[in-house]
């Protein structure tokens, strides 16, 4: 048989890895400049293709060669799972994104009240569970290399000459270069996703090419392969379900079902799948296309599995060559060495993709949930932002070395697919706690812990230990007679349960115990308040959006909580990143400057979620708790928990809102009401006490009382108006508004005011203005408000007011410029606040202090913005802009 020189194979492999690296750097640069290449449903779908590893590429052919169609459940399961993507997966994604969850350990821990114990347990299960899977990739590449070059690296050579170890270390180095170049608090790796998508294309095309080569190059099409196989009595059973599993004439429906279920769960819960499908997802809508396009990818990559397997068996005969390397040995047997090299690169692609993403995902978990919490306790008060990257790199090397160790211990005795299934069964243990936690509010931390522990223990006993025992690393008789001769504990016939294959047997026991304990222990005790709060955030994620944490009352341990939180963030994120984060927050919360940030529940939550990206949610919660006490449940939270009915919840939310408004109203309005009331009372008392008051003075006083009363009723009306708007109960209409006509109407209404002050109003506007969709009466209110403001402030007798209307593609802008005293810079921010009026007390004109805030609310309701420009001595210029069309939420149109 032909072979290739080792140097060529290595050269091609390294060149291919370098290409991947280039693509990743390019995608990272594009992302940095805001032109992401992965924001696309096709790229997303291809990145999920990381599901297809060396298992698919080499193992499936091996499986098909020994048991026919039984390689298929591994792909039918994920197909069914993806059909649930729009419900189950979308919910996972929504939860993960709102809670800033970055790994599967984080997800489980966060759901059950940010439990540190659960985070550790899930991380350990993932780490141990995934080792066989990593070993599978190493084994596949190593045996591929052996076939391709004709050399035997592993057999008999001392470990330092073992090519598999070299491959493991090379992959570790590559993964480190790939995924741990810098720390991103959101754990997103755009470059990696782009490279994985490319790998998916390469492995699919390579596999299809091999398939076509075998089917049409070596035979006369697939039908020919099948016809020849059917004619061969040794191969004919492979084309049927019954009889293809080693002489058993009945179809093992239970095993078929178990494999399908296992594969479906693995698609969702393997650490790397969680990474690409949930953490790296840019846009939820991509799930829609992926829900059919990913199954299509699976279908395509499986099309030629059976033809290749049968073709290999027909060509070499049974037992003459290892079916797992048919994709390489078939082209080699035809002298097509370059084609075999292409096939090897495809297989390398499949294996490296898995190793890279899995190692990055697992190293993130180990770092965030195992190492950082420990470092945190061991080195209190230090700058820890330098820790995560080296830790992650070390974990990646460790993971591959452990994978290599498993390969040495158990790898030789098993087929690729069987090794992979051991890992699948391990991650399937996450299903009860995770899916249960997403739909069942009664699930508790204790239940999840009990279920996971039992499931993991049974998995170890019934699947992991036997895999090691079969290679001779455990005493003979451990499998056949049970440990210490106790037959009931035989790992593969636990409690005497016989008649199942070892995988179905293990899955049955582990999931049974897992689900049973999860449910039973959860039912034994009601969830704590903390568990319940997280339960609501998870289960009702689609109902609670935008609401965030109801700002409960915080009890601070610290005297200067803001400073402490900033210090904390700097410790974990680094000084620069922390400064950026607080500056961002100040901008978004409206505080403007970092020093002016209100240290409230929202801030705490923000800091906590940012930290969660770097050190995991459980650690972040613990760290933040050193500054602030557990946010106590507000009455709103309690009500939400008690009332299941969403209608009641909605009413409660309205009540909460009204309650807040009431408080606002009382505190600010009392003061405003008192001033006119006092003067009304004073004048009334004067008139009562002095019956002989001259008629004209009495008349003057009554006039003042009337004016004050008018001001009072105006105030009350505006307060009500404001309250309605803030509670979202304002009546809004949408109609085409002619802005020219609007200005004319407003000027007419205010003409008397300007005439009294002797002011001249000029209007500048285009001849043609498109109409704008808004509420005409409300806009009129805004305009009249601005005009009457101008009228109040212009100098008597020499007032000049300029109204300009201008338009562009986006919308229209109206500005009202006066030549009054202007607004001093320190007051410009205040004029839009409630009950703050411009001017000092002496020359403050009569007004309610609500006109501008209301106007601004109206403009903002229609998607616009209002501003004040005023330079000293240049008068004031109030203006606002409105977009032509604006979708207003909750609009009754």
């Amino acid at each position: 048989m032909h072979t290739l020189p080792l140097a060529w194979v290595l050269g091609a492999s390294i060149a291919y890895l370098a290409l991947l690296f280039t693509v990743a750097s390019w995608a990272d640069r594009r992302a940095a400049s805001g032109r992401s290449v992965i924001g696309n449903p096709w790229v997303y779908t291809l990145s999920i293709g990381v599901y297809c590893t060396a298992w698919t590429y080499f193992g499936s052919v091996g499986r098909a060669a020994s048991s026919g169609l039984w390689f298929l459940p591994i792909y039918l399961g994920p197909t069914l799972a993806m059909l649930l993507a729009w419900s189950l997966l979308r919910k996972m994604v929504r939860i993960a994104h709102t809670q800033r969850i970055t790994s599967i350990a984080d997800f489980v821990a966060s759901r059950y009240g940010k439990s540190r114990a659960l985070a550790v347990l899930v991380t350990l299960i993932a780490l141990v569970g995934i080792l066989p899977y990593v070993a599978l990739q190493l084994k596949a590449i190593a045996s591929g290399l052996t076939v391709l070059t004709g050399t035997h690296g592993a057999a008999g050579a001392p470990w330092w000459q073992d090519s598999t170890l070299a491959i493991a270390l090379l992959l570790a180095g590559f993964t480190i270069a790939f995924g741990t170049r810098h720390l991103d608090a959101s754990e997103r790796h755009e470059g990696m996703v782009a490279a994985i998508a490319l790998e998916s294309v390469v492995k699919l095309l390579a596999f299809l090419a091999i398939g076509a080569f075998v089917a049409w190059g070596m035979f006369e099409g697939p039908a020919d392969v099948f016809a020849r196989a059917a004619a061969d009595p040794a191969l004919a059973p492979l084309l049927r379900l019954t009889g293809s599993t080693g002489g058993d004439a009945r179809f093992a429906g239970g095993q078929w079902f178990a494999l399908t279920l296992l594969a479906a769960l693995s698609l969702l819960f393997l650490p790397r799948q969680f990474q690409v499908m949930v953490v790296e997802l840019v846009d939820e809508r991509h799930l829609r296309r992926a829900s059919w396009a990913f199954p299509l990818y699976l279908l395509l990559i499986n099309l030629f599995v059976l033809p290749i397997a049968l073709g290999g068996l027909l060509h070499f005969g049974r037992g003459a060559a290892d079916p797992e390397t048919f994709v390489l040995s078939l082209p080699l047997s035809q002298g097509a060495s370059w084609f075999a090299l292409l096939a090897f690169v495809g297989g390398l692609s499949a294996a490296t993709g898995m190793v890279i993403v899995e190692a990055i995902a697992v190293s993130t978990m180990v770092c965030n949930d195992l190492v950082m919490p420990w470092v945190l306790r061991a080195r209190p008060g230090r700058d820890l932002s330098r820790w995560p990257l080296p830790v992650r790199r070390a974990v990646i090397v460790l993971l591959l070395l452990l994978g290599y160790l498993y390969f040495r211990i158990a790898g030789e005795a098993y087929a690729l697919v069987s090794i992979g299934l051991i890992s699948f069964a391990a991650v399937a243990q996450f299903a009860p706690a995770l899916i249960g936690g997403m739909y069942w509010k009664g699930a508790t931390r204790a239940g999840a812990l009990a279920g996971l522990l039992a499931g993991f223990a049974l998995w170890t006993w019934t699947l992991l230990l036997p895999s090691i025992a079969k290679s001779g690393w455990l005493p003979q008789g451990f499998l056949a007679d049970g440990p210490f001769g106790i037959a009931l504990l035989r790992p593969e016939q636990l409690f005497g349960l016989a008649g199942l294959d070892n995988l179905t047997h293990a899955l049955l026991w582990s999931l049974l115990a897992n689900i049973g304990l999860f449910v039973a222990v959860s039912l034994a005790r009601a969830p704590s308040a903390r568990e319940m709060r997280q339960a609501l955030r998870f289960v009702d994620v689609f109902h609670h959006e935008g609401q965030g944490a109801a700002p409960g009352h915080m009890r601070w341990h610290a005297t200067d909580p803001l400073a402490e939180l900033r210090q904390l963030a700097a410790r974990f994120l680094g000084a620069d990143a922390a400064a950026r984060m607080f500056a961002d927050y100040a901008q978004r919360s409206g505080a403007g400057r970092v020093e002016r940030i209100e240290p409230d529940a929202q801030l705490v939550r923000h800091v906590e979620t940012q930290l969660a990206g770097a050190i995991g949610s459980a650690s972040a919660h613990a760290v933040v708790a050193t500054v602030v006490e557990e946010e106590s449940l507000g009455p709103a939270d309690l009500l939400r928990m008690l009332d299941e009915a969403s209608q009641v919840r909605a009413l409660n939310r309205q009540l909460e809102g009204l309650d807040r408004l009431k408080d606002d109203f009382i505190s600010s309005v009392t003061h405003e009401l008192r001033t006119p009331l006092t003067s009304i009372r004073a004048f009334a008392e004067l008139m009562r006490d002095d019956p002989d008051m001259p008629a004209e003075q009495r008349q003057e006083f009554i006039g003042l009382v009337v004016a004050e009363t008018e001001r009072l009723s105006r105030l009350v009306n505006q307060v009500l108006d404001m309250a309605k708007m803030e509670a979202g109960h304002g009546q809004w209409r949408r109609e085409a508004v002619d802005l020219r006509e609007l200005i004319e109407h407003a000027l007419q209404t205010t003409s008397e005011l300007f005439r009294e002050r002797g002011a001249i109003v000029t209007v500048q506007q285009p001849d043609q203005v498109p109409s704008l969709m808004a509420d005409r009466d409300r806009l009129l209110q805004v305009l009249i408000n601005l005009l009457s403001n101008a009228a109040k402030f212009v100098p008597k007798g020499s007032g000049r007011v300029l109204v300009t209307l201008s338009t562009d593609a986006k919308g229209a802008t109206i500005e009202v410029q006066d030549n009054g005293p202007g607004v001093p810079p320190e007051q410009q921010q205040l004029v839009f606040e409630k009950f703050r009026q411009g001017g000092d007390a002496s020359n403050r004109p009569q007004g309610t202090g609500l006109g501008l805030p209301i106007s601004r609310k109206i403009v903002e309701h229609f998607g616009g913005r209002m501003w004040l420009k005023s330079a000293p001595g240049q008068g004031a210029c109030f203006g606002f802009e409105l977009p032509w069309m604006h979708e207003t939420p909750g609009d009754p149109s």
Partner: protein, 73 residues
């Protein structure tokens, strides 16, 4: 007025159909020593059924008319 069934509900139905169709005992219906166009029936049935499932999912997802509200998943 009749409202269109949600995309979510349709996909759930399809998943249920697939789960039943690709499992014991229905799957054994195709397990016969028959060939169609030279391809064994069992293999053909699995891949064709799979393709039909994918086609139906694409049809449900890519058409614009199904309501797409934020219902609880």
């Amino acid at each position: 007025m009749r409202t269109a069934p949600t995309r979510r509900a349709r996909l759930l139905g399809l998943a249920a159909l697939g789960a039943v169709g690709f499992n014991f005992p229905l799957i054994t219906l195709w397990d016969r020593a028959v060939t169609w166009f030279g391809l064994p029936l069992m293999t053909l049935a699995l891949f064709a059924g799979w393709a039909v499932l994918i086609g139906a999912a694409a049809w449900i997802v890519e058409r614009g008319d199904a309501r797409d509200e934020d219902d609880d998943g």
